[in-house]
Amino acid sequence: MLEVENLSCVRGDRRLFSSLNFSVQPGGLLQLTGPNGSGKTSLLRIICGLAPAADGEVRWQGASIRSLGEEYFTQVTYIGHRHGVKDELTAIENLRVSSGLGGTDVSEPEAANILRKMGLGGREHLPALFLSEGQRRRLALSRLGVCSKALWLLDEVLTSLDKAAVALVSSLIEEQLDKGGMAIVATHQDLNVSASSFQRIELAP
């Protein structure tokens, strides 16, 4: 279970949000909305442990994520809007490297399989340079298909995706929730995901 207690975030001399409280249970989905610059990305970066909070605490299974350190990272997958797809590497290489870095080794046939599922069939051996923006995002998201981490943090992942891809991502999230995982998604679009517990948090400007 993920608990956020009394969290506040300050960027420069602006307070983005303060006294934020919520918790996500296994199988739960949380959607973050709010206007541009309201601190959605900052919140996700604090939850995944990249940035420190000005005040408050994030707890995973009851323990502060600061004290868990690398143990926490075995449970978390974060996909930001800068998705880290390398132009010079082929689609398969990109997927194998990014999941390898996350601690899951994927064999080449497995990777090809997932890429086909993500609608990148026939482009597995193409350098990512030749993929369109939407395809690159599909490639970045295909990492979700191989990782078995309990908490997904997705930041504006639906941008530049077509309808079919949005449906694909939604089904991936659904699978994750069915397995008892959790997902926090920052997006303006409507999520068409059936979740046992769904919350929406709107960050004020």
């Binding site: 990249l50 690398e70 930001g80 800068r82 390398k86 010079e88 996350g102």
Partner: protein
């Protein structure tokens, strides 16, 4: 995981061969300019050889520092690396190792060839190569700290030189010192041993300092 970092960086370097070759050519050209611009007297050339080759190696290694983390930083890969279950220390070590193999090893290999222009004896050329072999990893390790600290800053290229070049001085002194003593017929071993000590020291502390720098830069 460690091998993924190394494999990835080697692969990226292979696909961007031009960058690597540029560093190598820079080294060769800078070293070659000196014999061309001075009177071709063997004694003078021999005197300046250790300094010239080593200074050129320092400058060439500065060139590749910019690429160490900057690309991964802009496209978000570095964030992913910070969020891996393995210690950041290992990731930094892997990246530095790959950078050393790609940018410094070619330099070490070509050094005896360019050294011939200075009329160095065979023994001296061997000492030069060994001193570069021990010294260049230190350059990469120290450089990584600077690259990590200046990540995402404007004009980081100049800043990293100002930050890192002074820290290179001990390596330069012992490296050039080893070659110098080999030319004058003394024993170069003490210098090489001191270089080895510097290597061990930086191997332990530099990746750790770089990890801290990266965490700060990415906050």
């Amino acid at each position: 995981m460690f091998r993924w970092v190394v494999w990835r960086d080697l692969m990226l370097a292979w696909r961007r061969r031009a960058d690597v070759l540029a560093t190598l050519f820079f080294f060769v050209i800078v070293v070659s300019l000196f014999p061309l611009s001075m009177e071709p007297e063997t004694r003078t050339l021999r005197t300046i050889a250790p300094g010239v080759v080593w200074v050129a190696a320092l400058l060439a290694s500065m060139l590749s520092l910019g690429r160490l983390f900057a690309n991964d930083y802009t496209d978000g890969t570095l964030e992913q690396m910070l969020l891996t279950p393995q210690p950041l220390y290992l990731i930094v070590l892997g990246k530095v190792l790959a950078q050393w193999v790609v940018s410094e090893i070619p330099l070490v290999l070509i050094a005896p060839v360019v050294g011939v222009q200075f009329g160095l004896s065979q023994t001296t050329l061997i000492v030069l190569t060994i001193s570069l072999l021990i010294g260049t990893p230190v350059l990469s390790l120290i450089g990584a700290i600077g690259a990590g600290l200046t990540l995402g800053l404007r004009g980081s290229g100049v800043l990293v030189s100002l930050l890192v070049l002074p820290l290179y001085i001990p390596v330069l002194i012992f490296g050039a010192g080893a070659v110098q003593s080999s030319i004058t017929g003394e024993n170069p071993l003490p210098h090489l041993e001191l270089q080895g000590a510097a290597l061990v020291l930086t191997l332990v502390f530099a990746p750790w300092a770089t990890s801290a720098a990266l965490r700060i830069s990415l906050e």
